[in-house]
Symmetry: D2
Subunit: 345 residues, 4 copies
């Protein structure tokens, strides 16, 4: 049996482990992908730290990693696309195709989704198998870091396009990588002005570089007062909530105009108290919960934005490590002083 | 100066008072309407009881009443429609026509709205003046109780049509008159099945008569379990929240399917704790805050439903009183053992 | 090799032939269905008559028939749903699942669609194989004629729901079975009023029974004048064009109000002259081309309408024949004096 | 009586005339605007040439010109906005505010619209009166040519935003000024790629400068073949038809992908023959007739695009003339060798 390197969560405790695992067998309808790059997500950090969410969801041992690209090196039975040799980005949500959500163009809420690197083995490894439809063909010359990042970029695209941002005033709360990408997408789609907030100055600088017109730190700035002033008292048409922070959510909805749209991707630590009357009902606001990527509209949209050059993801990649250096990579990621951190097997 | 009867909130305390007031002068762009009927709304009860909301919003003295119909008896300058003699229902939100919301077909969130019977004199009186555009012409033979009810019916229409109910499974939480009307509208629009909940058995009976397939009392029934069972574990596609009760909101969102739509009209007593992650974000749910009526789409839709006979509002009118009997009318309304209660000046 | 009865187009000439054919082998991802009923469509008549369209599309020999229901009697590899013994209606469009249209919830415009009974063997036979996903499970007690009709009913549902018919004035041009079903759907969805036109009085009677408020014969009635009068000069909000007749299309668009919606299912004999300026551009009209059924939203919607009882398809079934009587069945269908004609193998 | 210069169509024949006319009186709800600039539209050319359309629509004498900006110098009764001294662009469609279209946020299809410079006196003059709501306040430092152009720019915005262009492949047929502006808008909104066609090389150069990736001349280029090749045989997601040329319309629909959207602003010379089956129905295409600007969403959108700098209209202004030089200005406009031509009173 051929073996490969893999970073796994070995058991129910903090930390990860580099180990040897058999190269997985490709099943019917699947492809085997030789991983070229895989980026670290905030979710991976939860798994690393073994927090409450990780404890409730992860069943070790499991190979971690769900933002992955690589080359197709084998195909199972009944696969017509992609071809061996194709360079592909991976969609991390493996869906059933037969539930009512999959059958109505809403695979992002498939009731049987299995997430690579979470519910089953992921891509911080030399190889991964995955349903053929989850292997999205990329041009051979797309930089591997950009290809790995597409899964996460898709979250930003899904969120930003849930609302109508063109020619609108937009507030992005939370400027981690996915927030910064949401700024890029809103900018590419012709937002009139983009306000951003985050507690990290490092991230606010990335937000500014990505196109934010005004980037505020709620630890220092009165976000509500400053955005209100910048909008002549009006507030914003669109809120893209990428932080999950209760304060940010509250500020965002306070600034949301009547009739405004709020797209929520950020996951909060738990239930929280919220003024529905003033923030949603009296305003006639519309609120969209966002999860994953629309399968596969989001991938087509992402491709359009990247190929036209409307969005340039390169500046977001700040750190590169060998797979063996995973501990250092996670440390960098946890520091808050990074954009995307990419692992190379 | 000619005088008229009117029911007013005379000062900052509970109760109302029947008094004499001058018949109002009709201004430019306005009509004078001789009131034929006016129905009591839950909001009127808040004003009667002088609760926290009423204390914060109402500046006595003010004539109460905002669900009104009558005959146009005079017209101010520059009015082309309606004509003197026309029988009209009144839209209670008097809007500015020049703010950005009014100018983009969203007068229901006009930033300068003044509500009759709340922000200015209303219709529990013999006469009322109002902007000509707020006087919606009705057929001469429409029963006056039905005509008075159109404002409130419009809330139900606005809420039910914010989501797509046709061929869908719908849950209506809260079966006061506006909830019962939402059931009627969902039924008329071809909902596949309608579930309803309320704490009053009197109201649940009205809900059943209006078309609810299953009407549950959360004081007695396990609403979540029973609707789940009735839907083979699936839940509902659409939630129409008409109660403002935190328990109902929580049950409603628990039962909402992934990708579902929730339209919220019910006003809750204040901020409350809610699980956004599971109820909105992971589900990819969409939530719509509803206020007033879309001006004037809702009125056209309401007219269509009433004229085609798809909705029959008559059974909803359970009590009729002379204006002088307003105390008895409010008592009936407060008992929970009534549908709509109508006053006749 | 086991044989079965089948009605085939044997070669490039008018007419069909009852013959013996091998029972087809079920492939991976497929089911074998024992046909219980199959209804005749206008398309089948074109194939029977071997008209220009049929000559350009059909490659004989082929078993005809695409409105089919039956029992699942065998399953190929990798099929999880439906189960053996399940009673199913068939979706006639066998799609590829991997083209950009399939991958974005728009399988109805799959670029590799193969239509049973047209591009490959169909269901006027004792058995048919088809992709498992095309076998839509029905309740065991659904009448077989109704189950066979679902494919065609789905055309009506797709067309009627492409526009917003609730509380609107609707004109249905063309009252063949699919037009009559569109009337039923519009009625179920709460259309304010439904106008209908057809050149056959038999069909106009079916239209009236289905819910048309006014059913007109353009050979006798001035459709434009009469609908205009009935709408106080306004015209209609929605046009459902189910005839493909140039006169009907022109009348329909003449009657369409500014801002109106036109959903077009009827296929015309060829290109025709049309006044785009007045019929579409100056009116700000929206026009939707309709083909097939949305996969699989339409099937869910159809199920909702049938199960709630909002639509009753039974009156549409006017004639039943044994498969051997196919010539008589096609003759009945061609007479214009029928609703749906159903074959039983 | 104070007099002013004005360019009028004096009677039923080709040509215009510079004459003296009384400065108009401002009525209730109106403002008097001192014109600072007015640009020439294709419609003005039709009036100048006195073609069939002009003969059927225009009732001389009438002051021409409907793309206008200027300063508010007087206000009639009941006007609250704008203020005297405000610099304003004019919306040319004076609407009734009371028809069903105006009352449902669709003033662009008002059934009583009166167009300045066509149905009543326009803006090729020193002064014009207009309904106060038609005077859209602009920043004092907006160049007057850009301010005059907003009416026409709004046509481009309305058309481009009728479809979803972001991350999509777009074809713009017709590269007159409004076509070029549609290219600018599609570019600003993040279109993936923009193809353009026109018979004038001068205009194709403007199209390229505005952002077209490939600009083709159907007199020389095989538009269908070249766009097909550029799109790997796929065609385009969105057609923005700005020419009214039958060949362009046919090419555009030939290139439109299944499920595509076509927004049509160009007015054709008359009815024409078109293949609805293949161009619309089998494709499941959606077609939108476009007229005027959405009142007032389009104005808000236009403002957003101009103020953010996403669209730069300056290069479009190629010629400036004094009002007295109107003949020379029209000659320039007719030459096809110009962008927008602006008159200064």
């Amino acid at each position: 049996m051929n073996m490969m390197k893999a970073v796994v969560k070995p058991g129910p405790q903090p930390g990860l482990e580099l180990t040897q695992r058999p190269i997985p067998e490709v099943g019917p309808g699947e492809v085997l992908v030789k991983v070229r790059a895989a980026s670290i997500c905030g979710t991976d950090l939860h798994i690393y730290n073994w927090d409450a969410w990780a404890q409730s969801r992860i069943r070790p041992p499991v190979i971690v990693g769900h933002e992955v690209c690589g080359d197709v090196v084998a195909r199972g039975a009944m696969v017509t696309e992609p071809q061996i040799g194709d360079f592909v980005s991976l969609e991390s949500h493996v869906i059933c195709n037969i539930c009512q959500y999959c059958r109505t163009g809403r695979g992002h809420i498939c009731e049987n989704t299995r997430l690579i690197g979470v519910d089953r083995d992921g891509g911080f490894a030399e190889y991964i198998t995955i349903a053929a439809q989850n292997a999205w063909k990329q041009p051979a010359d797309l930089p591997v870091e950009i290809a790995a990042l597409q899964e996460n970029f898709g979250n930003a695209v899904h969120t930003a396009f849930a609302a109508d941002v063109t020619a609108k005033k937009v507030l992005v709360t939370g400027c981690g990588p996915v927030g910064v990408m949401a700024i890029m997408v809103a900018k590419a789609a012709g937002a009139r002005v983009i306000y951003a907030s985050d507690v990290s100055d490092y991230r606010l600088n990335m937000a500014r570089a990505a196109g934010a017109d005004l980037a505020l730190n709620p630890r220092r700035d009165d976000v509500v007062a400053m955005v209100r002033q910048a909008t002549d008292g009006e507030g914003v048409d669109v809120l893209l909530e990428m932080s999950g922070a209760v304060t940010a959510i509250d500020q965002g909805f306070t600034l949301l105009k009547p009739g405004g749209e709020a797209a929520l991707l950020g996951v909060s630590p738990g239930p929280f108290t919220f003024d529905w009357n003033h923030h949603i009902i009296f305003k006639g606001a519309r609120v969209y919960g966002i999860t994953g990527r629309r399968l596969w509209e989001t991938w087509y949209q992402s491709r359009g934005l990247v190929r036209s050059g409307a969005v340039n993801l390169a500046p977001l990649i700040t750190h590169r490590f060998k797979l063996e250096e995973y501990d250092k990579a996670f440390e960098t990621m946890a520091s808050g002083q990074s954009g995307k951190v990419v692992l190379f097997p």
